[in-house]
């Protein structure tokens, strides 16, 4: 060896560790920023949900109209649907921070509450259809995963087509929410994904927008 250079191995290791820590820090800042955004959305959605429950009580006391309640439910569902979309993007991008799993769970609980609320008001208020999409968040089976991919697209198409009378609620069922498990027991679902229309029809096989519409008329 021309020079005693073997310390270079340790120097390189040290620099690599520093680069890595810096990369982690940048990544963590990005991811935390996104989680903060989602948390803000969630806090606002939580307020909307509480507002919805209050409105529900008012309808029961005959102090408010069904039309207003349905509209509020619809707006809330649309809002958390958009937020779910955003969250899905953030989940794909976030690799270090695992807080997103808890946020997922919180959103799924919120959607479950919305679904239960819709079931409650359905007897009193008409003029809307609930379309609940039950899927699995951690799906490894490729056939089911492909099924889920296409189902979600079909439902977005349905929502775009029928916007005003559809309340679309996608809920992941593998998030250990006991109220959800209890609520879906009556549908006797064997495997996911499924779509439940107006709490009556359970669609297990992937169906076109046009065919789903036949259940809505």
């Amino acid at each position: 060896m021309l020079k005693s250079n073997k310390h270079v191995f340790w120097e390189a290791l040290l620099i690599t560790v520093v680069v890595f820590l810096f990369g982690f820090l940048i990544g963590f800042l990005f991811e935390s920023g996104r989680i903060d955004d989602v948390n803000k959305y969630y806090a606002n959605s939580e307020i909307s949900l509480m507002d919805l429950f209050a409105l529900n009580d008012l309808v029961n006391l005959n102090s408010s109209s069904c039309a207003q309640l349905v509209e509020s439910n619809m707006n809330f569902a649309d809002r958390i649907f958009e937020e779910a979309y955003l969250m899905e993007k953030y989940s794909d991008a976030n690799k270090i921070d695992t807080e997103q799993l808890i946020i997922h769970q919180r959103y799924d609980l919120m959607r479950t509450l919305l679904w239960i609320n819709l079931a409650k008001i359905k007897n009193k208020c008409k003029g809307f259809h609930s379309v609940v999409y039950l899927y699995e968040y951690n799906q490894e089976d490729l056939v089911k995963k492909a099924n889920q991919n296409v189902w979600s697209k079909v439902l977005v198409d349905l929502k775009n087509k029928r916007g005003s009378d559809i309340i679309l609620i996608p809920i992941a069922t593998d998030t250990k929410i006991s109220s959800l498990q209890s609520f879906i027991k009556k549908f006797e679902i064997k495997e996911y994904p499924v779509v439940i229309i107006d709490d009556k029809t359970v669609l297990e096989k992937i169906t076109s927008v046009e065919d789903i519409e036949t259940y809505l008329n």
């Binding site: 250079n5 191995f9 620099i15 890595f20 940048i26 991811e31 492909a146 991919n149 296409v150 927008v209």
Partner: protein, 409 residues
């Protein structure tokens, strides 16, 4: 953090570590990159050239060596390995005219360069023994720039810088880039006693050490790698002279290129297997060369398997999704799906890519060849994103062939 993310991080860490290591070695030693040592004594030297069907080039190879400015080059021993062309006639003709050139022929074709090299080595009586290839062309000063390294009695081998001579076809130009990067990297490894191969086109060994390691292993497809490991395992040092230029002819089509790379990689595997008991023993062989070589293989193979697994899963998923979406007449990809959110993995990916490109540019700039200016960005991009990506195919094929006992030269 999922397993895939952990794997990606591990790969990023390894890549950044090795690139940092090379860049550090470079910045710490850049003044000595082209160092030439003046020989304390002009040691006597013989060069052995194995030749098999190299009638087109052998004459020029001999002439180039005859033109060498090293005064104590005693003999050029050209060993014809029972060529089917007119190589032997050409060699004999030159030998007749020039007493420095000695022509000989193996009793029967040895089937490998090592066989012919060992055969030629029998006739060497000088202090140093060098080897060149029948299609390689050393520059006038190549040998004289190498000999000074033998001032240190611990030096067991000195190797040269090989560059590509034929650069007309696209594949040849890509190899020209590759050879420059290889030469630059090898020189850097020399600063940490990590040179793992003394190339075939021009390498020199003290005859005593060459005899001590019993010459080249003719059962190994890359005898030049094996002999280097053998020399290092005995505590000798190996150097590279960046100022010693040798031009060689590289494969001109994909088929011959592929065959050559398979041979190199199978030979590499044979060498790892032969020295598997030397881990953390025998100085830099066990503590760096063997782990570095083996680690590169493990990393490459594991990476390929992960990539194939991911690719197959993605293809199956896309195909199934397509078939379902066709059934229900819905569009699968919308603008909404495009996700450009940055994350830590992106940072590491960009860092590795930039460091890799910087290292390649540095290596090319160091070749100090006029041709570099003509290479252009496109060639470098093709080298980085196409040429290097062909390697997984070679590695997988090499493992398969190695396991099947591939021995063809």
């Amino acid at each position: 953090m999922d397993l895939l993310t952990q794997t990606y991080l591990f790969y990023s860490f390894s890549s950044i570590y090795f690139l940092t290591l090379f860049l550090l070695i470079y910045f710490q030693n850049k003044k000595e990159m082209f160092e030439i040592k003046k020989p304390k004594k002009e040691l006597s030297l013989s060069i052995v050239i194995p030749c098999y069907n190299e009638g087109d080039s052998i004459g020029e190879t001999i002439q180039r060596l005859l033109n060498s400015d090293y005064k104590n080059l005693k003999k050029i021993i050209v060993v014809d390995d029972c060529s089917k062309d007119n190589s032997y006639e050409i060699i004999k003709k030159i030998a007749k005219k020039n007493p420095k050139v000695f022509a000989c022929q193996t009793p029967k074709n040895t089937g490998c360069a090592a066989g012919a090299k060992n055969y030629g080595a029998r006739f060497v009586k000088t202090e140093l023994i060098g080897f060149s290839d029948g299609d390689s062309f050393p520059e006038k000063s190549a040998i004289s720039n190498m000999v000074g390294f033998f001032n240190d009695p611990k030096v067991g081998a000195v190797t040269s810088r090989v560059l590509v001579r034929n650069r007309n076809k696209f594949i040849e130009r890509l190899q020209a880039v590759e050879y420059k990067v290889i030469a630059f990297t090898r020189k850097l490894l020399g600063f940490v006693d990590g040179i793992y191969v003394t190339n075939g086109p021009l390498s020199i060994y003290p005859k005593k050490i060459f005899d001590e390691v019993r010459g080249f292993d003719d059962r190994n497809l890359t005898e030049d790698i094996e002999i280097t490991w053998n020399i290092v395992s005995r505590g000798y040092l190996v150097h590279m002279s960046l100022s010693s230029l040798v031009y060689t002819v590289v494969p001109s089509n994909l088929k011959t290129w592929f065959r050559q790379r398979i041979r190199w990689n199978v030979g590499g595997l044979q060498t790892i297997n032969k020295y598997k008991g030397k881990w953390f023993k025998c100085g830099m062989l066990g503590s760096f060369i063997l782990p570095f070589f083996s680690f590169s293989w493990i990393l490459a193979i594991f990476g390929i398997l992960v990539l194939i697994y991911r690719l197959i899963r993605t293809i199956i998923l896309r195909t199934l999704s397509m078939s379902y979406s066709t059934k229900v007449n819905t569009a699968l990809l919308t603008m909404k799906e495009i996700n450009l959110s940055p994350n830590a993995l992106l940072f590491f990916g960009i860092a590795t890519l930039l460091m890799g490109i910087f290292f390649t540019l540095l290596a090319l700039n160091y070749s100090k060849e006029k041709e570099f200016k003509k290479q252009g960005v496109l060639l470098i991009l093709n080298y980085t994103f196409i040429y290097l990506l062909l390697y997984p195919v070679i590695l997988i094929t090499s493992i398969y062939k190695y396991l099947r006992g591939y021995k063809s030269w």
